[in-house]
Symmetry: D3
Subunit: 260 residues, 6 copies
């Protein structure tokens, strides 16, 4: 099985870090292919960074080398539903995966994330994924994403401190790491905290294996069907669905049944 | 006051139609500037079309000609929060505006939209905007967006029929038109249905005037602050915040306070 | 356009204060007519005060001088749906208006209100208007309504302090003033806090203009139809709908179709 | 124990009907005192009727003859929280009582009510009382309230038919009668339907006995504390709390601690 | 009327304590029969204890001595829906009863319970019973259940302290005691706190009287119908519904109509 | 890896059917150990059957042969949290697993289950797992559980018909099979329906592999900690935690710190 792990952040060292986390948990028969987005922000820390990151993610999915499943390696799950439209292979977001993983091993969790400004993004995802009863709190550390991998940074200690606050004050029973760039911290924190610490990258890779192993593919019966054939213009003209995706009979019918 | 009405669909005739709806309601002192996105889908009918439409919307906001407010003219409100990050001028989505307008004049409404595949998008917005108690049902007509403006099309009759179903079966007290391309139908339908029929384009223009008139600007205190300065690469390198946005002192502090 | 701003509190000086806030934002063509309720509490600070305030509000709407829209100037939005029944002109509540305005410019807000005992009223409105995901907290200052306008009062400082707490602890990105009597504080606070501060009176006036400008009127198709003709007795006999409202054909049918 | 059952509808024959339902279930030691509101609508069928009905309900509570508990006999529970402010004796609404009673004997119910226009009122109560998971549907029969007691009316048959629809289509396991005027139908319907049929009047009387029997009184610690002392003017000047309610020390403190 | 109060905890002294609370409020004609479960945990303090407690509760209901209603005396309401299946007599849980009682006399409450590990159980019940808007917080004291009845224990002081925190910080207007073993504390706390303090045992007994007094029985139309006839094996073979419950005609039809 | 698949239904042929579904998807290194509960109902079709099934499930977990993870093979997920308390190995419910699997490949689903009386159980799980926005409807077929495996039964055709209704009327994009006994129908239905059809047994086995593969174990920090040491009596005396589970230092402290 071939899982393509796409880092929508354009920082290759972060992709390596995520790749290590992924490969550490991948099953023997699983090949994890790493891809660093070639367009957009060095680190995704807001709605704007997220929105623009989708282009690079789409590029990685549309490219020739088909995968059995895709993982989007940014905790905001940017472009998740768009990505699901353009392939029948399962696409897994790391926030979604982390939350469902946490729900399997704890009745409550806190999310510990990077900048305060990304907290709202996580809170929206908690609601979108129906995890309001499980998530006790989203906690920001105000550690920037790229700070996480700097040698000598105090990031690790700050994050540990925030996790301890979560256990003490939120009385949460598990911690979710709210950034792909924290993927290497899970074991370190778990040993010190004594509760499950969930890295979404590992969770998404394992759930991708699971979904593929069940023989499931993304539903093409509704909003996740391939994009309808239509012209695209300007900088994005090469993204026109007409050239890229299969047109189903039902779609043709939808397109042309009305006029007259 | 200058309101820039951005059509994220790249079809200029649709922009004209929206512009007429906008100018019909604009206050005397309001100048409505029309902009048709120069990148992306001729018509937005899904998550993929939406995600890619954000680039063109961002282009229109970043361009030199500052406006007092922006309206995003697509019922999925694509890129709304990203757009709010990159300007302090208010940005109004037409779905959001339509739902709040409906809530001011009715305790319940149905949304009548185009293709079945876009229904989920509207349902997600209903939840995001807290309108679950107001929205009785989202109804798809399976009329494609561009069909709406074809002469001789049966689109108008189909939509009227669906609205009548909404009044009869959902017992809704108002109708929201779930597509910017329906902007010219509001009066036609209202006369036949006898209930408020709300076009989001008109609603967004009027609410943009209202917000500007109150002296309100988008909050820059949290997730809607200007994007943080950072490198962008590849096709999107020109979108790097460093070149585009003011850096606040607090942001600098956030950036550099950690290492060491 | 003529907007009647009704103060359900029977304190004329508070009406003046609200009128100033209203006129400061009203469009050139808008005439704001002020009305102080002639029945009920000097200041509305609880369910009882609210419930009894509705009579005075109804009186102001039923009076001869028709308006294009009405604003109810008390943050509990007392009698809002009753008021919408008895006129087809839009009726806007200031709490509802303030929350939708805040949602246009921020993803989160806190409400800063007067007495602790009114906090529950605001919390119920947050839920009724679907703003649970936006509202981080309702904060009471225990400043009585009429204290707000006393010279030499420490009310202003107390409210500023509470707003600062909201920014620091709730991490809210905007402040809503939870009392019509705070209408004059918005600018003062906004300058000191650096985030949008929303006064519902100004918001309601601008949204009233917007709704009227869209040509929308309250739906008469369901629960907001004119009251059914029927006898009223005792102190309220003059409020019998028979004398006051148009009877639609459908209403007559509803009334008389059953017996037999 | 003395329970005052207040009919906010000003139709005495309906009060008698409710009184029979109440006395049929009252415990041996319970005296049910009937009161027909002396102000307002002959029948309450909308927000306006409801809002104006509160005055008559307040009159009945403020009158000399103290009761151990009060029941408000209209399915919209009009003025419930205001009523709770002005007495420490428990006040029970019949909609609230009916829903909790249903939840004790069934996991789902449908509400069968009178006019379509009152359906929204019931739906709001379902949400306010947290019964969204229990209530499958609110069904209107378009039978006016006063039609219920007319001899020879087809009202009874229409309501039975609607209840049958509820069992068949909603798969509900219990029926709640959505109008005090249906109090005499519970047994008739229960025999024919074979499921619990709940009349809110009986439920409220029994729950009032229960709450009194537990020694519970309305909390005076927050929003349900006695109204604050203050002037009332105009037609309502006699309702000024100053003359009517005890002033607690804490309230005095609240009132006077700020200025200076 | 005969109400059987079942203590699913197998500690007889706790049953006595609950019995005293029950009898203190029972109506003259009510006989409260006490039963201590003969199987399972001395004290129920978790999901495992709860799940295993159901057997003993079922035994007490299935035994010959029919009651008019049953009360399950453990704040987790363990086995409530299973118990409702096996008898048509009403079955009341003390958590459910306490929350509805609180809602009748206050707009907000806090639950003060025993061990931190049982807090999640209460939080789940708050959601299941639709009390999210009423319940401000569930507070654990980390006092074990059986500690409550030890002479010389500091349990009482600890609980009082936690209740005071609830009033001060949650601004709750009533307290619910989150354990049947606290039944004797209600009056003690109420005198000191000045707000309603609700013991679920008393509440459940009074509501059981009320439901029986209304003539209501558990609905047998859906999921609460008697268990379907079928074989049971092993340690539980004597629990086979075939021997224990009436088989309705509809159930027989359900069973045998399909094959062929 | 060793996954123990426990069938809480005491019908061995159903266990075989589930085992086939499990083994068809298990990874090469996964050993699926089958266990049929030795106590309780031949088929679980209600709250009573469910509640009593927990004993047999607990027996299978407490038995000597340790597993790396457990799957509870009944769509009501009976005893899930109790099971999680008594082992640190992950325990996965098939309903929970099926819903999260569906959420990974579709934005909406319908659940097709057996008897109408079990529908409420599924609806409660939908809410507990936060899937209200994903689940369009729970549909009962009134096919009894054991009918599913009878040769010559029309069960298969009835279920196919109900799934077709779900696609047509609910517009769902995926189907979840609401009974472990339907595990062999997934492929059959998927071929005919053209949308993902999810069997919870397969989903739970794959997610169990995934959770184990991530190195996650059930949190022992809160309500899922091992049961506290305490006496158990009567038929269940052998289930006393004292003999069965490790006592942590913190638990000892909790037990004994209070008195004195």
């Amino acid at each position: 099985m071939r899982i393509k792990l796409i880092n929508p952040n354009t920082t290759a060292s972060m992709t390596e870090l995520m790749g290590e986390a992924a490969r550490a948990v991948a099953a023997p028969g699983t090949e994890v292919v790493l891809a660093t987005s070639r367009s957009g922000a060095a680190s995704i820390e807001g709605h704007y960074d997220e929105a623009l990151s989708v282009l690079g993610t789409i590029d990685e999915i549309l490219e020739g080398d088909a995968a059995d499943a895709y993982v989007i390696g940014c905790f905001g799950d940017p472009g998740l539903l768009a990505a699901r439209e353009i392939t029948a292979a399962p696409v897994i977001g790391i926030a979604e995966a982390a939350m469902y993983a946490a729900a399997f091993v704890a009745t409550s969790f806190s999310i510990v994330t990077t900048l305060e400004r990304t907290r709202v993004i996580s809170e929206h995802l908690v609601r979108n994924y129906g995890m309001q009863d499980h998530c006790r709190r989203v906690r920001a550390t105000d550690v920037p994403v790229l700070e996480l991998e700097k040698p000598g940074s105090s990031a690790r200690a700050i994050i540990l401190g925030e996790c301890e606050e979560a256990l003490r004050h939120d009385r949460s029973e598990a911690i979710i790491l709210g950034c792909a760039g924290m993927a290497d911290l899970a074991k370190y924190l778990e040993e010190r905290l004594g509760v499950p610490v969930i890295d979404g990258v590992a969770a998404a890779v394992k759930f991708a294996e699971a979904i593929v192993g069940m023989g499931l593919r993304t539903s093409k019966a509704g909003d996740l069907a391939y994009p309808l054939p239509k012209p695209y213009v300007g900088k994005l003209s090469s993204y026109a669905p007409t050239k890229l995706f299969p047109t189903t009979k039902r779609q043709s019918a939808e397109r042309f049944a009305i006029s007259g």
